[in-house]
Symmetry: C2
Subunit: 346 residues, 2 copies
DNA sequence: ATAGTCAGCTTAATCGTTTAAGCAAATAGG
DNA sequence: CCTATTTGCTTAAACGATTAAGCTGACTAT
């Protein structure tokens, strides 16, 4: 049977003092609280001898702070989010916080559930990668004055703190890169979503085409449903490639779309980049393994994660004034999948 | 400013009763505690009206249970663990538990830190994918009577609950598969590790060779250090392929080894499976993306995760008797990377 | 009439901490 | 020597819930 954990009371008893003194000493408040140096030393010694470990739950109840951060992401098994989670975990730990991760599956209901569970668990604040239709939840957090930072996705018409990639610019850069390298019929596969980040990626793609002197063709932009990604990705690719004017390059708006798309391109024996060049969002080992390494827009994951944590921690400590809104640039990592187009020799 | 959360006391006040009654009613103990039906209804109505949400922290302090599970894994950004984490998260939620995930980086010190942090946070129990040299930590948990279940890795000479893949058999199956398909010079790249699961994978490989009539050749088994995976994987592959008796097939003992190895094979223009066939542990989208889909040993991740949670939950509820020790089989998913060897035509 | 039972509530302790307030003794200031 | 101040400690409330124990009044049984 495990011996009971030692509490402040145990130490107090052993030292023959009140628990108050023990608390003061172990929290380093001996000066302010005028604790005698000998007794302080004694208390510390006993604490070590009894291997005292403070009870976090009691602390939390008393202080109203749990030193816990809720991280809401779409799905921890998606590498982008897993990497984010890892960074957030590490950074939070450095700041004395523990992270509870919840996967929303891009689903507003699950997201709401998660928020409620974590609010009941008294997390001090949230880092949220918002799901579709979750604006109202975010609004609620604001009203309830629960600290949070939005990560990578934000609502342009809501005043909130956020740390995000500049999705517009990333997409613009990706498309421009393809144009520069000689591609002229550039398609995009995106999600059918009202989320701002997705709109921005699409807008960036469109603007780049326009600025590159290529008229935007409606048929080259395919929007598919997250919930039916596998089937619809195939259909989209068929429609883009099996026509008399097939695309010569393709931008995948997310990692998930890329995975599905690339597998299907393989099945269809479409060669990258000769049949179709690729630029993708997201980043993962998978892109290195493809026979033709995939050009991708590298989001500053480390910085995103770290900044969101430090922003939140700052909010928790100092309480807010102005919301901080931070945009970061994705870096285009050019690989063979988008190499300069060879002039076709007949 | 957010209104204060409503507590039992608020409801009690509003209803003009004591907090005890409120507690009884809201916990469905009105029968045993002989609460009058009208007042019970009133209390319930007020609770709803005030949107009462129980304070989990207070509950935990009182009960000594936090309804929280600590999940210790090597690295959440590794897809195998990310998938495990996802399953565990979902299954735990179904059982009313919240999961706190910590990444140990296969490092005993970090693992110990994590355990301590989570013990102080009063998690009710642990699910642990043990890191190297962490046997003593596990032993400590046992002695402290802290409930835990080992996941996918266990210590054969320690009596603990565990849920694990049968690593020996998986490796045996993988190697046998290669033999069946005509490969004769089968190498393996594994980690240099005393961990039992790694030893088992190696043993399975060796026994399969033996049983297949192939003498085990020491030079075909390469053990590299986890901490130097990138360099040493390259060296190992060079040594296995750039000799007068190069391997014709290769087993990667983990997902991480596979990723590094496959990328290097690509760089070296070694063709899979013509130059070298591949069987790998782990599973990931990456294997589907490779130009030649990779044969892998599919660990029963869902079942592993679910079983470990339900085992732990059972331990938490009913308290233990005999430890449960569960081995599960990995499924060999045969793909092109290990297709029957073509007889070389000269 | 009188004790016993029971329904329906309240009281108060408890979990482990923190911390404002208070008290007694020692010291300082004049 | 007498009053302030300081020093070093204790007391007790509080955080929000749970729950054993007790209290009161009504009803039952004899």
């Amino acid at each position: 049977m495990s011996a009971k954990r030692t509490s402040l009371k145990d130490i107090a008893q052993e030292a023959g003092v009140s628990t108050a003194l023990v608390s003061y000493v172990l929290n380093g408040k001996e000066k302010e609280s005028r604790v005698g140096p000998e007794i302080a030393a004694k208390i510390r010694a006993i604490a070590i001898a009894l291997n005292y470990q403070p009870n976090h739950v009691a602390k939390s109840l008393r202080s109203g702070k749990t030193q816990t951060i809720g991280l809401i992401i779409a799905d921890i098994s998606n590498p982008f989010f897993a990497n984010i989670a890892r960074i957030v975990e590490d950074e939070a730990k450095r700041n004395g916080y523990t992270v509870i991760i919840g996967s929303s599956d891009e689903n507003a209901d699950k997201s709401r559930d998660l928020l409620n569970v974590l609010i009941n668990r008294q997390v001090d604040g949230f880092i949220i990668v918002s799901a579709e239709d979750s604006a109202e939840q975010v609004q609620l957090l604001k009203e309830k004055n629960i600290p949070f930072v939005l990560l990578d996705r934000y609502f342009p018409d809501m005043q909130t703190d956020f740390v995000s990639t500049d999705h517009y610019r990333a997409a613009y850069d990706g498309a421009s890169h393809l144009i520069t390298n000689g591609y002229r019929r550039i398609g995009m596969i995106a999600y059918k979503s009202a989320m701002f980040h997705m709109q921005e990626r699409i807008r960036g793609y469109q603007d780049a085409l326009k600025d590159g002197g290529l008229p935007f063709q409606k048929g080259y932009l395919k929007k598919i449903r997250f919930t039916h990604i596998e089937q619809e990705a195939k259909v989209a690719i068929d429609e883009l490639t099996k026509t008399d004017k097939p695309v010569d390059a393709l931008i995948f708006a997310t990692y998930g779309l890329a995975i599905n798309g690339l597998i299907y391109l393989n099945e269809q024996k479409l060669n990258v980049p000769d049949d179709v060049a690729i630029v993708s969002f997201g980043q993962a080992e998978a892109f290195d393994l493809y026979y033709c390494p995939i050009t991708y827009l590298k989001q500053p994951i480390d910085l995103l994660g770290q900044t969101s944590v430090s922003l939140l921690v700052k909010k928790l400590k100092e309480s807010p004034k102005e919301p901080a809104q931070i945009l970061m640039n994705a870096e285009l990592v050019a690989r063979n999948s988008s190499k300069p187009k060879l002039i076709r020799q007949i």
